[in-house]
Subunit: 251 residues, 2 copies
């Protein structure tokens, strides 16, 4: 399971953020997903100070820089993307859904810095802020409840940006039980069921179309056992069968 | 740009959550992505009360239910998935990365209810909680900073679950066993193994890190039983247990 590496191509820009908890949450998600460059445009001053001094404040927060305007904050970026909730209908920008937009952003990491802008908790990005953006990104939410918590919106966007760049997944490693093991389990299970009286000793049950042996063989195959688990079941069935036989001899 | 519709196949289960802000944040993300069934296992009482009375508390919070144990909370679910951070290396469950796991979870929505478990802020899910899970889900984060904020982790998981459900999949036909049936099988199996002498009567085996109960609970979940097969195994185990007890009485 490959983890994301630090990614230097992206700057997260928080504009007019009010709540220090949200600044802290954004920084934490950045650190989780390996995006380390945080920029704050006119945060409420006390918020930034409080977030920075919070327990467990990350190196992301320590290195965060403050800007007086969006223009200054994104000056070195070659692509500027704004985020918006589904509620806004009057947009004059191209609007891309997060999963589609993230792929485009990833492609741009190598040719220059990309900025992704998040607006204030109450109002989102102002038109003035939006005018600096090449296009807008929308997290797909329910129509009835489009407005996301800021820290959660940052986390979801960064997760998707990481995901869009993930390497090909490695092949699975499960060792499956051999047919021989499955047949040994079937045999032991049948013996146990006969010793316990669940199945008649005769074997064939005339009322049924399939023999108990066939039914149990299929039942065991449906378990789809791994090789180590097959060993465990073999051990348990051996012990149960031994006990049932021992009890019978004593009687 | 299609928005997610309400999805009734998933229950979000928060176990031992401490911080009311996190309960509120989880509920908000659920509402954003259209997952409405919230279950709380032993939340800190004041937290739940505070979250419920918070301004803007959603209908998700209003309808949330409280449970005394994980077993009760997931009894009607046919797939139980735990969440874990990358830091845990000693796991004995299959571990799937969020994007892969989300696809599997979506497939199961139509054939039964799926529970996704989130542990407490400090410790995550305990081994006892994990033993109720069929497999585990990991949000891919940096090795150096694997631990996510609870509200952000919920948001990222639900976003991915929404995303994974974009294309409509044909309905599956397998009815999966409920967690209640799997727990009954586990209990009968443990009883049988103790009667047969495979397990000591005392329960705990000092040499092993996990208790036999937890090991067997995981083993049974790995069988991935259908509902009819679970009935069969229940019947067989009842008969074997009855026979072992009857023999003991006669002796």
């Amino acid at each position: 399971l490959p983890a994301p590496a630090e990614s230097d191509g992206l700057s997260v820009v928080l504009v007019n953020t009010r709540n220090p908890l949200n600044i802290g949450a954004a920084a934490r998600a950045m650190s989780n997903f390996g995006f380390m460059d945080l920029r704050l445009v006119k945060p409420y001053e006390a918020s930034f100070r409080e977030a920075r001094s919070a327990i467990g404040a990350s190196e992301v927060l320590a290195a965060a820089r403050e800007y007086k305007s969006v223009a200054e904050a994104v000056a070195d970026c070659t692509l500027v993307v704004g985020t918006t909730s589904a509620a806004r209908r009057e947009l004059q920008h191209p609007l891309r859904r997060l999963d589609d937009g993230a792929k485009l952003i990833r492609k741009r990491f190598r040719s220059g810095r990309v900025a992704i802008l998040f607006g204030s908790e109450k109002r989102g990005l102002a038109n003035q802020d939006l005018s600096h953006c090449h296009w807008l990104l929308r997290i797909p939410t329910r129509e009835e409840h489009g407005s996301m918590n800021l820290g959660q919106a940052v986390a979801v966007c960064l997760y998707e940006l990481w995901r869009a760049g993930k390497p090909v997944k490695p092949a699975g490693r499960t060792r499956h039980a051999s047919a021989g093991d499955l047949e040994r389990i079937t045999t032991l299970l049948l013996e146990t069921l006969r010793l316990s009286g669940y199945l008649g000793v005769g074997g064939k049950d005339a009322r049924r179309s399939a023999s108990p042996d066939e039914k149990m063989r299929r039942l065991v195959r449906r378990l789809n056992l791994s090789s180590p688990d097959a060993e465990l079941w073999l051990g348990m069935l051996r012990q149960i069968g031994w006990k049932l036989k021992a009890d019978r001899v004593i009687r």
